[in-house]
Assembly symmetry: C2
Homo-oligomer: 344 residues x 2
């Protein structure tokens, strides 16, 4: 694409040329454009075009999946987790969403000069614990230090390698009209927990991040013979953005029933205080699974706290429509702009 076209897809600052805004990291529409216009355009790789959470290393006989994620969450420690456990969960969950068992992790630290060493040690121990629980080994790493004011304590990148156990791979192209859309648990708690601690709010019920490794749930579904047509974790942009990605990618309509979406009362309360919508709030231990209608009940039995929240439909291809609590159907769009920066 030309520089002119590139500029059109990105906000222009007062001085002239287009520049990066916080919305480019939101997981929403602006970030998707950036990925398409800059990264996919530059790297031109079929694996990137699949726009999944990870890459399939198809030429390897072992069938490996490969993924990466950087973590810039603030604060570094929050109710229910910290940047270390989150950096493990985020990457092992991306592997799980590829239908792959997490095996190996790398970790790259970018530390800000002046960071208390004890903080780094706490984060490293938390990563180690999370990796052990997820059954993954941290096998290689790197450390860089930047001057005071050029970072924010700790940034972490984790890349992961997993062994693919689902064949064919779960992906949007496999979704069929009639498929049930399940979520693996209540949504929005991670985003709400981060926001509350940032704003210094406390609620009667302690709001905790849902940050967790989801591979055990995916594995249980596989072991029970559930056909996993598409899997996506509900991170930046939340359930609404994830469903929009899948609808667009598969060019299929998705129909969501708002009243069926599980939201814990404390998450709902926090969202109400801040005027935010739980459907766009990030989760870090929840995923959406598309399964054949006939297997929905069995899958829900395995997920325990999950819910059937909608269906793939033949109508309105590429669009997500939601039946609201008062029975009105409306288009549920992708997040545009930035709801809550540095959530992960």
């Amino acid at each position: 694409m030309s520089a002119e076209e590139l500029k059109l897809s990105c906000p222009a600052p007062k001085e002239g040329g287009a520049e990066i805004t916080l919305a480019h990291g939101s997981g929403g529409r602006v970030m998707h454009r950036l990925i398409r216009d800059v990264f996919q355009a530059a790297f031109q790789d079929p694996e990137l075009k699949r726009a999944h959470d990870g890459a399939f290393l198809a030429s390897e006989r072992t069938g490996l999946a490969f993924t990466t994620d950087s973590f810039v969450v603030r604060p570094l420690f929050f109710p229910g987790g910290d940047i270390g456990s989150l950096a493990v969960h985020g990457t092992v969950n991306d592997l799980a969403m590829c239908g792959a068992e997490p095996l190996y992790l790398s970790c790259g630290f970018i530390l800000e000069e002046g960071l208390p060493l004890e903080t780094l040690q706490r984060v490293a121990l938390s990563m180690a614990k999370a990796a052990k629980e997820a059954g993954a080994r941290v096998v290689t790493g790197d450390t860089k230090v930047v001057e005071r004011g050029k970072g924010d304590g700790i940034y972490i990148n984790t890349a992961g390698i997993g062994r693919r156990l689902v064949e064919p791979a779960p992906e949007p192209a496999r979704v069929r009209a009639g498929d049930a859309i399940l979520v693996s648990g209540d949504i929005g708690a991670h985003g709400a927990a981060i926001l509350s601690v940032r704003e210094g709010l406390t609620f009667e019920t302690a709001l905790q991040s849902d940050s967790a490794a989801v591979w055990p749930q995916v594995k249980a579904l596989l072991d029970a013979g559930v056909e996993l047509r598409c899997l996506r974790d509900l991170t930046r942009g939340g359930l609404a953005t994830t469903l929009n990605e899948i609808a667009a990618s598969a060019n299929i309509g998705l129909s969501l029933d708002e009243s069926a979406v599980p939201v814990r009362p404390e998450t709902a309360a926090a969202c109400e205080v801040f005027g935010l919508e739980p459907l766009y709030m990030a989760c870090e231990g929840r995923f959406a699974a598309f399964v054949p209608e006939a297997q929905a009940k069995k899958a829900l039995g395995i997920l325990g706290s999950g819910a059937l929240v909608g269906r793939a439909v033949e109508r309105h291809p590429g669009e997500v429509r939601m039946t609201t609590r008062i029975g009105v159907e409306r288009i549920l769009d992708m997040l545009s702009g930035e709801q809550l920066p540095r959530i992960c």
Copy 2:
């Protein structure tokens, strides 16, 4: 280790507790302590204990190597390269040092709000070009954005997967007394180029970074049947630090002949201006190879611009000693403190 012991190994700031300094990112002694005391202690993985540039995924039949590196170089563009090409070269070179052919790369961007989009596009295109030249595919990625003043334009993490072609793996434990120490070309140009552009100096001869993928050279040595006992790229901390790592890790003595070490006149001139030592300057396209004495000549013929700079010896195990230009033997220590921050 206890918190007390941890503190002892790190500088204590005025306020009390130990904290991260720029030296923790230097590649020298302080960084080695941090890796040992915090990361190896937390993650407890045998692959990390090997302290190589990458991990061997031994349980996979394909014999893969896995590595990660974050890049925080400033400025983003410098003579002979930019943060994008450097992020590719650094990681494919870590794979090459494992005796592995680079196959797949991930890239994780941490962007600062306000970055001109055109800058990002230039960097992405440079990465794509470098990856193509190195024969590696960028197959997965991630983008995060941090607020103005919480980053410095662009930070990049690249993780890489390669196919191991050298068995047994090149590593310090395989070095034997009598082995020849080769360097693959002139040293210190990357560090000198970065420093010169930062300080706004220009020299009569344009000083260019040596940033490049070294796999073609390693592959040529392999194809010619040269036994590669140990390979290390000469990045942070330079040749002196690399040799110290190998001497300590293998508990073998290394003897270096200063006059045999190739340094280009413009690199030497820049080092002299800034009072720095070329032996500690980072290269980003140079490596040290330990080969059997009898194969040294053949290997040099293949490397072309390389040089035989020293030998492994039975004397002074764990120490590097250098015969200086005036014929005096002295201990060549590891870099302690920080010579030049954010070189890569």
